[in-house]
Amino acid sequence: MYRYDEFDLKFVHERAEQFRGQVARRLSGELSEDEFKPLRLMNGLYLQLHSYMLRIAIPYGTLSARQLRKLAFIARKYDRGYGHFTTRQNLQLHWAQLPQVADMLVELAEVEMHCMQTSGNCVRNVTADHFAGAGKDELEDPRILSEIARQWSTLHPEFSFLPRKFKIAVSGSPADRAAIMIHDIGIQIVKNDEGEIGYRVFVGGGLGRTPFIAHEVGAFVAKRDILAFLEAVMRVYNESGRRDNIHKARIKILVHQIGPQEMRKRVEAEFAEIKKSGVLELPEEEIARIAAYFTPPRFEKLGEFCPEFEAAKRENRAFADWVKTNIAEHKAPGYAIATISLKPVGKTPGDCSSDQMDALADLMDAFHQPEIRVTHEQNLVLPYMRKKDLFALWEKLGGLELATPNHGLVTDIICCPGLDYCDLANARSINIAQEIAKRFSDLERQHDLGELKIKISGCINACGHHHVGHIGILGVDRKGVENYQILLGASGAEDASLGEILGPGFDKEGIVDAVETVIATYQDLRHNGERFLDTVRRVGASPFKEKLYAH
């Protein structure tokens, strides 16, 4: 994985000390709250319902065991012994105290981490496919470009005061596991007819109060040109994005207002100008230098068929169930990718205790995993597991409440912190996720239902991605009472689309029954083996509405 050089290390330590000074000036009265707020946000520090919340950047969702242990330590020493993994592959600590935050940043700097680019109107932490370097379908590790983009965007003077926040995601394969179509810039690594690797660039996706799916602005951008192209997009946005209305300031609004064709025209014109100077042309040796940091571990020469693994599946039904959902194909024969669900039934989606983090770091060492990944679906991934080790891993995970066999199933719910923690939320979301998970906890039923992605947000800002759930749930405040709207038939993957609100919302007691009705309707209507999403797309929303609002 990427290692900081001397400059990086010095910089993050200086930033921590700079923030210590800013906190001291705030506490002494030298800085007002209005002056301090943008400074704390530049360091990922929010004031939430109960306390300060520190959002820690996990670039492209990759952590070493050393970093994971440090996160466990920080959460235990400075917070309440747990953290919450988010849909942008970050970690949030919800009980931080202002005088201790600089110390937390110093601790993070010691393991090459920080909280920059997790807030404010800047280019945010770049996210990537969590199967990077391991996925069987991958063309190239998306973290190489993600790291290049991170270095280009961090402290970029031209983009320090953008109209609004700016999110970039990179996918290295045709399957989109990074939700690129709902990002300000989504990049898909592609191969052209000549066999060259390049980038397909989408612009203007996003959720929130005005959701849009991104539009293609570059069908194939050569590797050497990608920074010039990204800079061109940013310049068009920086110049033409609205600053008079926070709700209309994202690039998606600009693309919608001028149209994708005009956007392409403007980007191409800017791109041509930037290219003339040649300043942003990426030298091959620099790409190779960054790529070297992401060289996968040396894989043993193993057969694809692993007798021990197959025997364990035959002999242990619970292990076989876990394998069915939580194990994905690896590019190296005899290896597999293990998804560790952070969605045990009845618990908070995405939460992980310090004890669990420490234990996972120990497992990384025991099973020779140089990295663990955070997914935008709020799970963790061990990307380089030998198949023959999977049974032993599963047994250990079981003892940590980390072997829930539900990845991609109805109980693997994406969920924002909602009104239990968040200052912006209008309704709770975690309790709804918990109740739905309890209702559908029967594993046989979950497997019968197959892939079904429920995504819940506690407000229109959509941190829980409700617009792109197979079933999306949006919590609103209806005359002081929590109310939940259902959206149907959307996806945040390669077949991305936005959901349609079915009708009037339900109270917190009624929403679980409503989800049950939607799912029962699917069971009645599905063809043999047909996924939930495919059934909804085939029959449309009407049959579901009829059942939901029959009385």
Binding site: R26, L27, G29, E33, L47, Q48, L49, H50, S51, Y52, R80, W95, A96, Q97, L98, P99, T348, L419, D420, Y421, A425, A427, R428, I430, N431, Q434, D477, G480, V481, E482
Partner: protein, 95 residues
């Protein structure tokens, strides 16, 4: 409608409530219930505590008063007063 003045402590972020006799208090049960005319004045007075760096982000919220029982109208304030409903071991409710 009766109201309560609330804010967060600047240093630790903890939720606090205004009581003109006791100052900023941690528990909703110690908060002063303000009648309509006094609420706005109390909010204006909070500016002094903001400038003294005691609290940040003061605002008023509505409560229902039934006998000695004071209940925030909005669930947001009920959650702020207690802690996360999904983690009873955290926040003020944890004791």
């Amino acid at each position: 409608m009766s109201q309560i003045l609330t804010a967060n402590r600047l240093q630790v972020g903890e939720v606090v409530y205004w009581n003109s006799a006791k100052g900023w208090v941690e528990s909703l049960t110690d908060a002063e219930v303000l009648a309509e005319g006094r609420a706005e004045a109390a909010l204006k007075g909070a500016a002094e505590w903001v400038s003294k760096r005691e609290v940040v982000a003061p605002y008023l919220f509505e409560v229902k008063v039934l006998g000695s029982e004071v209940t925030p109208v909005k669930i947001r304030e009920r959650i702020r007063a207690a802690g996360p409903t999904v983690r009873r071991d955290l926040g003020k409710q944890a004791g």
